[in-house]
Symmetry: C2
Subunit: 118 residues, 2 copies
DNA sequence: CTGTATCCCATACGATACTG
DNA sequence: CAGTATCGTATGGGATACAG
């Protein structure tokens, strides 16, 4: 019998006090869920993402993509055939396990806008 | 016909570029989902929350509770009958609309620990 | 018991210029 | 096209002491 839920959880070297905080540690922050949301249904190139997220800076987008890639949620494929560099980002199988959650996050946001917005 | 999803969303005075970022703006950060998670099934007092979250500081817990209260996700009830001050936090009806989402967030964290942890 | 007040720091994020 | 480099700022959050 476990007394209380004080077990520390670990993932990729980081410790979390709770399963909920582990998830937030991975998809938290201002942009990660937005990126994942846009990648649910299609692979996207760097500039396509920028157009879908006009308010993110190049630097931040780059950093967030790298972080998501490090956590194996997305994969980065480079097409080096011809000079105009082409890179496609898409969800990994692991990242796809997040799809229902990302969808729920987006849906709740929509709900709030519809029913509770000022 | 909407060209692209570039409509700005608003909630409580803040603007968000995407429904997913709106949700994250409200429940994001290191502790909010953890607090909400613990409040799913029971009202809890300040010190009970502290014991469930040993690694949060008093200041931070206080600030996050206040933020959640401002966003009307939780309510704070004070029992002033006798000197030992007693305060209970619980989900509002609006906060309860988040329960499935919080549960999904926690579940995905659990999944990761079970199947993908190092 | 339930918090506030101060102080401080790390990190996330933005702006802008520049590169392979 | 797909990023880096550099610099600056804002905010989230920790440590500790104290207050109603």
């Amino acid at each position: 019998m476990e007394s209380i839920s004080s077990k520390k959880l670990q993932f990729r070297g980081k410790e979390y006090p709770c399963c909920a905080s582990l998830t937030m540690g991975i998809i938290g922050g201002k942009w990660k869920t937005v990126i994942l949301f846009h990648l649910i249904n299609e692979k996207l190139r760097y500039n396509q993402l920028r157009k879908l997220m006009p308010s993110v800076t190049e630097r931040t987008l780059s950093l967030q993509l790298k972080a998501l890639e490090e956590d194996k949620l997305i994969k980065r494929k480079v097409y080096t055939t011809k000079p105009p560099l082409k890179v496609e980002y898409s969800l990994t199988d692991f990242g796809k396990t997040l799809v229902p959650l990302i969808q729920s996050i987006a849906d709740w946001g929509d709900l709030v806008v519809e029913k509770y917005a000022n």
